[in-house]
């Protein structure tokens, strides 16, 4: 985004404070344009006026240009499941934040039998991993054309589309691609891929069907040439695939191409390559070796490019040892560094506790809190959970760093009035805070019990230690 201040946006707005956008003032709307929670196009009076008045139209176009993301944003799919990729502004997350998490697509191919296709689609759609208060899920399915038969491909694409997830259509043959697009172009799939060999046909398909298209070439001159050609012809939804080579010099080359593309787009201000980048960790399955090694290497390639600029990926392995680390890494890299992942401190009663139930304490780091809370809740444990404000730090770090101290525990106990809610004086602290046991006892006058290192073990621990003897 070229402009940084709401005031600069405000100057382009009608300044009538009409409230149609849902905000009280144009200034407030402008602030949300800057933080990217609304789009300029959400200002209806401006858009309507632009349709009538060429001067206003010019103003609107200027504003759109000034507020455009550094890297183009491309939407794949429609409705609630649609996924946005690209739209990034910076090279390093601490400079602002990364906006659209890398989209994860998992492959099926059209010569698989229908039952196997259904099984894989079911696994993609139903995948869930609990993490900081929510479930992490997968984004979409890439349907590869291995039959080279437009009819079969179309049939399989139709079947897979019925799962409602965004799709990548993987076919280099224009006839096969066309057959699939005839079936599901209205679902806004991503075409994969236009190459030096088929770009004319794919350009035509992109224009005819108005769907996003991936351009694929190892040669960055060619890749840029294709991007310029497609844009000139009127295609704006472009994804760049600089070709993922899974091994050796090839992988080193891939690393260089991906980084150079993004660096040149943002730092070098080259708008002709400022598009989302496709990486295909699935290429790891071309290397020699057993399935475990291939899956491991697939996770390695994916991780490398989750950290460095991959906006959309095609995976083969749905095994947890590939999915869980990569999806967790994606969450970590794409959390907003400006707002630490923390929850409100205070007292949280778990499972309708009685005055006889135990009192626990944990930190307000979202990960710690949700882990403990879900372990207690799902374990059917009744209790009182004190949440200490450690400025969003976990137990170990906050004990070491002085955010988790006996005096702060005392303050929290006083604020929450926990002593009046229970008829005992036992506080259970995390195993990782064991060294504070004595200090908290001195400070609060309560008996402090050192709980397990991991809250997953609280249940077994309570069986032995509660009620205290």
């Amino acid at each position: 985004m070229k402009i940084k201040s709401p005031l600069e946006v405000y100057n382009y707005l009608p300044r009538t404070n009409c409230g149609e956008c849902g905000f009280d003032t144009c200034m407030s709307f402008a602030a949300h344009v800057i933080d990217r929670s609304v789009s300029v196009m959400d200002c209806k009076p401006l858009v309507e006026e632009a349709e009538k008045d060429p001067k206003v139209k010019k103003k609107l176009e200027e504003l759109l240009e000034l507020t455009a993301t550094e890297v183009a944003e491309v939407t794949i799919g429609v409705g609630d499941n649609a996924v946005k990729i690209g739209g990034e502004e910076v090279l390093h997350r601490h400079e602002l934040t990364f906006f659209n998490p890398t989209a994860f697509f998992y492959d099926v191919w059209d010569t698989m039998d229908d039952k196997a296709i259904e099984e894989r689609c079911d696994r993609v759609v139903s995948y869930k991993k609990f993490y900081v208060g929510n479930f992490l899920t997968l984004d979409g399915i890439a349907v590869r054309c291995t039959s080279n038969d437009p009819k079969r491909y179309r049939e399989v694409v139709k079947k897979v589309a019925s799962y409602g997830k965004p799709l990548i259509l993987v076919a280099l043959d224009p006839e096969c691609m066309k057959a699939a697009l005839e079936e599901i172009a209205d679902q806004r799939p991503l075409m994969y891929a236009a190459t030096e060999g088929n770009w004319k046909e794919f350009l035509k398909l992109a224009l005819d069907y108005r769907v996003p298209v991936t351009l694929r070439s190892k040669d960055l001159d060619v890749l840029k040439s294709m991007a310029v050609t497609f844009k000139q012809a009127g295609v704006t939804d472009i994804v760049l695939d600089p070709v993922t080579e899974p091994l050796g010099e090839g992988l080193k080359g891939t690393f260089e191409r991906v980084i150079q593309l993004r660096k040149t787009a943002i730092a070098g201000q080259d708008k002709d390559v400022a598009y989302p980048i496709m990486v295909t960790p699935i290429a790891a399955w071309l290397i020699d070796g057993d399935d475990v090694s291939k899956a491991y290497w697939e996770a390695v390639i994916a991780s490398m490019f989750i950290v460095k600029y991959g906006d959309i990926m095609i995976f083969r392995s749905l095994d947890q040892h590939v999915v869980m680390p990569t999806i967790t890494l994606r969450f970590n890299i794409y959390t907003d560094p400006r707002t630490p992942v923390q929850v409100e401190p205070g007292l949280k009663p778990i499972n309708d506790p009685t005055p006889d139930d135990p009192v626990f304490i944990t930190t307000n780091f979202a990960l710690t809190y949700y882990t403990v809370e879900s372990d207690l809740t799902s374990g059917g444990i009744k209790g009182w959970l004190l949440v200490l404000n450690t400025e969003g730090l976990g137990v170990e770090v906050s004990v070491a760093g002085g955010q988790f101290t006996a005096s702060k525990v005392k303050e929290l106990m006083e604020e929450t009035g926990i002593a009046d809610k229970v008829n005992h004086k036992y506080l259970i602290i995390p195993g990782l805070a064991a060294r504070l046991q004595g200090a908290i006892e001195d400070e609060t006058g309560w008996n402090v019990l050192v709980g397990p290192m991991d809250s997953g073990r609280i249940k077994g621990w309570l069986e032995k230690n509660w009620p205290p003897k």
Partner: protein
Amino acid sequence: MATKKFTLEEFLELLKKYNVEEIEGVKIEGDLEIEFEGGAGIDLSAIAPLYSMLSEFGNFLYHANMALGYLQRLSAALGIPTPFAAQPAMPAAPAAPTAEVPAVEEVKIPEELIKAKFEPYKEEYPGAIEEVVLGATKADGGSREYTITLGGEKSLAFYTFDAPQPHLPAIAIDVFDRRPMLAKAVRMHYDDVLDDPAEWAKKCVKKFGADLVTLHLISTDPLLDDTPASEAVKVLEDVLQAVKCPIIVGGSGNKEKDPEVLEKAAEVAEGERILLASATLDMDWERIANAAKKYGHVVLSWTQMDINNQKTLNRYLLKRVEVPRDSIVMDPTTAALGYGLDYAFTNMERIRISGLKGDTDLNFPISSGTTNAWGAREAWMIDSPIEDDTPWGPRELRGPIWEIITGLTLSLAGVDLFMMMHPIAVAVLKEVFNTLGGKVSGGVSDPGEWIFMEV
């Protein structure tokens, strides 16, 4: 005027039958009928070249969007405006961008690609990361067979297209002077050596390919065995005898005891240029740094994920103790994947960039306690405690990869030295470093083969 309604198929038929020069006042109606007014005459010969293309689309003309697209092309080809003003309601179609009717512009597919040259943006930093040598050979008064050099970068990690990277990250494997708590998947690889640190160190180097060994003297912890410093360092002497790689020595983390333990370690390892782990702000860092200086070792400057504290401690070491610039390595703290890795990554990345930009308080090599990854429950727990989670699969496979991804991520932030434990994690990360460092030749013959593979 009387109007006649046609379906699209009838329209195609009509094109066949009549010679029409122009179409005027074409209207499209709800159920995809085309209506046009009055005595239109169509010149078939004028559109003959288009005809085969048009009939290709015939099999999906029932599809609303396609039919519209077809009409636009047809009208464009015939040079008549598409009557959007008269466009009636479309058949119920999903609210997709494809359902929008684009403005009529003649679609021109160019014959050739528009040639463009990609000019990569080159980044040059004014600063450089200090080079720090660990270990000393006979020539330098030690007994190591080789040394390890950390640092020397002039660009971000593995950005060899911006500047050459003289040294790839090194990997140290952890050894403890008493049985530590270890995840089962890690412990199984060390079961035979857990009570013998010297043998343990040998195994790390000979079997698992460690560049260095980190000896943690945890038995000195007053809450554990409270081993006296003078006794604990005997294990260090054993390890120095057993292996010929550079050595890192760690204390127990006890703030009162560590300075004493590390001082003693520095003394018995005189000349070997070991890395003393660690000096921290909340203990007697001065004593540890002085010991490093006195006996020619390197000091690990450890802070808790805070760039300002890291800067402060480094300044203390440089200014107050006058530790030489080539004798400091930093540990800004490693949090595991899923457990604060985002903080660790960004903190290290900021430190590295500051160093490259010329901040001489921060341009030291970075070390990571990657073994911390094993604290993540995803690495060691049998399965998810959350009922709705997709099952977690075998932990033997999850654990090592948790350590790999933690290390890999931090290597991209600029870490130069990894302290690790699982042999597979060590092997895979080494392969990653060698690959990105340009030491692995070859690749696959056709990286596009996955597109068509039938497995």
